[in-house]
């Protein structure tokens, strides 16, 4: 079941089209990656979903209903550019943001304390925001985003400024929320995290949706039939039709199989020619490579 569906959403500004007929669906309980270079229209798309701005045309459906102003209270949005009131105390600040999400003061206080305890930060309660490091402030912002138990979480570059330990802490929390059924839209430039965390992605460039789908399927779709072989002994000088040696260094070779050749044939050929095979693996393109290739409009095929 999809929790969010965009149908040909368009937003124009005075001299450019920020979002151009973008359509996609996000499955309930999944982690959905939204990728694109700077200025591609990701932030505008997110602002439309969170009703901060309205689309010029197109429709957005949230939990099956046409998007309206009551829906954002069920969403949590961590913007890429984010700040806190420097002079406020952490506890008071969290309660304030939670109240604005519709929690009562009592509920907000209880939830905020719970959250801070889980993030090992309860002793910050009476500290002023300006006394915290940037990473600590990020954590506070993350807590503020999830404190009202949203069903849809939109995280724009949630890991910037976090050290590896805190990154893992936030990442685990994202997985924990996903397992509880929360849907997460995840916007980032860090592709290795997209591969690691997202099931589905959309790639936006210049306001247009240029690629969309399951991460594994996309990598398969863009594969170049490359195989990596670790071997002992020497490689044969010549190869059968359909096998092409791309690279060879220190007993690791990369082959491309073309014209309907199969990996089994390659493996058989190598074994027959007297090589010792230690490892044999298909190389799928990383999302990063696909991203760069798509954005630049360059394809090897």
């Amino acid at each position: 079941m999809s929790i969010l569906r965009l149908d040909r959403v368009t937003k124009k500004y005075k001299d450019h089209v920020a979002v151009d007929e973008v359509s996609f669906e996000v499955e309930q309980g999944s982690i959905f990656g939204m990728l694109g270079p700077n200025g591609a229209g990701k932030t505008t798309t997110i602002r439309i979903i969170t009703t901060i701005i309205g689309p010029d045309s197109g429709q957005v459906y949230f939990q099956g209903e046409a998007l309206n102003k009551t829906h954002p209270s069920r969403m949590g949005y961590l913007p890429e550019e984010r700040g806190l009131y420097k002079k406020m105390k952490v506890g008071a600040h969290l309660i304030y943001l939670a109240q604005l999400k519709g929690l009562s003061v009592a509920d907000a206080t209880r939830k905020c304390k719970e959250m801070l305890a889980r993030f090992e930060a309860l002793d910050w309660w009476n500290k002023k925001v300006e006394e915290l490091s940037k990473g600590m402030q990020q954590k506070i912002q993350f807590i503020a985003t999830i404190v009202h138990d949203p069903v849809l979480l939109i995280l724009d570059e949630p890991f910037t400024g976090l050290d590896p330990i805190n990154s893992i802490m936030i990442q685990d929390e994202i997985f924990r929320l996903r397992d509880k059924g929360v849907t997460i839209i995840f916007s980032t430039h860090r592709m290795e995290q997209v591969e690691e965390m997202c099931e589905n992605i959309i790639l936006i460039n210049q306001g247009k949706n240029i690629l969309e789908g399951n991460v594994k399927e996309i990598r398969n779709k863009f594969k170049e039939h490359l195989y990596k072989v670790e071997y002992g002994g020497t490689l044969p000088q010549q190869f059968a039709n359909g096998m092409e040696l791309i690279r060879k260094e220190d007993h690791t070779a990369t082959f491309r199989i073309i014209n309907h050749g199969s990996p089994n044939e390659l493996l058989q050929y190598l074994i027959n020619s007297g090589c010792q095979i230690y490892a044999f693996k298909e190389i799928l393109p990383s999302i990063n490579e696909i991203f760069i290739r798509q954005v630049k409009g360059i394809s090897h095929e």
Binding site: K14, T50, K69, P79, E80, L84, Y85, A144
Partner: protein, 444 residues
């Protein structure tokens, strides 16, 4: 929804009111005004009193004779030879030596005298010496002609336009529209207009500053995901406006209390100095001298406070919302630098300054065409109408002015919130007025 606006307003109000700087300004301003008024009074009194010692060599013989009976005569005499005195007056401890030659004939009305001094004396000192000396001769001549001072005083005629009836059928109203009331009305009107002008700048720029800070620190990005921009803006306006009302309420109580205490306990400071402090009120102390303190207090109580105060607060809020909503919109339009706010403020500052300078002609002619126009035109009325209130403007003008002002508040909040909601999320260059007009048309 509106609930969120109040949550924002509450935070805006509480964080400001709890700040040390707010408490200090609220308490120290009245103390500062009290000290300032004492200081100004002291300077006015003491500064004009000359500490120069003056010695008089009197050849008429009349002045010295008469001065012996005048306790207030401030100078001393010496009958030593003039040439000796010219050599010695400084050793004797005097700063100025005045030589009055003998009268050519007993009826002379003009006498040329001379003075000797190390430094040039001030004009005030010279005039003071001239009048003191002249007074003695005048008194002498009056006594010689058997004219008594009380007889002379009985010739005096003092006409005072104390009672005015604006309504010929209602004479009882006359006491309330007499001259004293007009003096007080002018003072109060000037004070209220000036206060409005200050308030618009103090709290308007407070709103602008806070909008700019929230934009530059990207707090708005977090805020707008849970609060609609118009509620964020309104919450801020209400919160800061509340701070303004709180501060004014404290001042309204503390300033008169402190001034009363100061004048009651400090000797030699009299109430006429109040007008030195509030020169903006255009009331000079001479016009108040004609009335006793009791009359003044009575007249102050007789003012229609039940009307003036609520209407003043209404105009305070109206003016505050009109101008601070403009300040908020301008604050949202800056680029990456707080300093750009100054430039964007200029158009607003010009409008407020025009209104402020209209205050003076309006107080001179509080029911003239300019006064009527300015107190109805919504960008000026918050400053001008409170100034006219003490002059009993017609009811229809007050009501029309309020209606026009409230509609303008409504319109400006609609207009500025449309600029604000776009501005707070735009980064890069400072927006121009033309761009802001384009923002008005963006779909919500």
């Amino acid at each position: 929804m509106n609930n969120k606006m109040w949550i924002v307003a509450k935070r805006e109000y509480l964080t400001r009111v709890q700040r040390k700087s707010f408490i200090l300004v609220t308490l120290l301003t009245p103390i500062g005004i009290a000290l300032f008024s004492v200081l100004v009074g002291f300077i006015m009194n003491e500064g004009s009193k000359s500490d120069q010692r003056v010695l008089i060599h009197d050849d008429t013989g009349i002045i010295r004779q008469m001065a012996e009976n005048d306790k207030d005569f401030p100078y001393e005499f010496s009958s030593k030879d003039l040439k000796v005195l010219i050599e010695e007056y400084r050793q004797m401890g005097y700063d100025l030596l005045v030589h009055v030659p003998a009268l050519k004939d007993s009826a002379a009305t003009y006498l040329s005298a001379s003075y000797y001094g190390e430094e040039k004396p001030s004009l005030m000192l010279l005039e003071s010496i001239e009048s003191h000396l002249g007074d003695q001769i005048q008194t002498y001549r009056m006594r010689k002609s058997n004219i008594d001072q009380s007889l002379l005083d009985s010739f005096w005629a003092d006409i005072n336009l104390e009672n005015g009836a604006m309504d010929p059928n209602n004479i009882s109203e006359s006491a309330a529209s007499g001259k004293l009331n007009i003096i007080l009305g002018t003072a109060l009107g000037g004070l209220m207009g000036f206060l409005m002008y200050l308030v618009i700048f103090i709290y308007g720029s407070m709103v602008m500053r806070s909008v700019m800070e929230e934009k530059l620190s990207r707090i708005v990005e977090v805020m707008v995901s849970s609060v609609r921009p118009i509620n964020l803006m309104l919450g801020k306006l209400i919160g800061v406006g509340g701070v303004g009302l709180t501060q004014l309420a404290f001042w309204a109580i503390l300033i008169p209390t402190l001034l009363t205490i100061v004048y009651a306990f400090l000797p030699g400071v009299d109430s006429a100095q109040l007008s030195n402090v509030g020169n903006v009120t255009q009331v000079d102390e001479q016009s108040l001298d004609a009335f006793s303190a009791q009359q003044i207090i009575q007249a102050i109580f007789n003012l229609k406070w039940w009307l003036i105060l609520p209407v003043f607060i209404l105009f305070f809020l109206g003016g505050y919302f009109i101008y601070s909503s403009m300040f908020a919109a301008m604050g949202s339009a800056i680029g990456e630098d707080m300093g750009e706010g100054q430039q964007l403020m200029i158009p607003i500052v010009i409008i407020v300054m025009i209104a402020f300078y209209m205050l003076f002609p309006v107080l001179t002619n509080p029911n003239g065409n300019l006064a009527i126009f300015a107190s109805l035109f919504p960008l000026f009325s918050p400053i001008i109408m409170p100034a006219r209130l003490a002059f009993d403007p017609p009811w229809w003008q007050i009501i029309l002015s309020i209606v026009l002002m409230l509609s303008t508040v409504w319109f400006f909040i609609w207009l500025t919130s449309r600029i604000y909601r776009v501005g707070i999320l735009m980064y890069g260059k400072k927006a121009t007025i033309r761009e802001m007009i384009k923002w008005l048309r963006y779909s919500e």
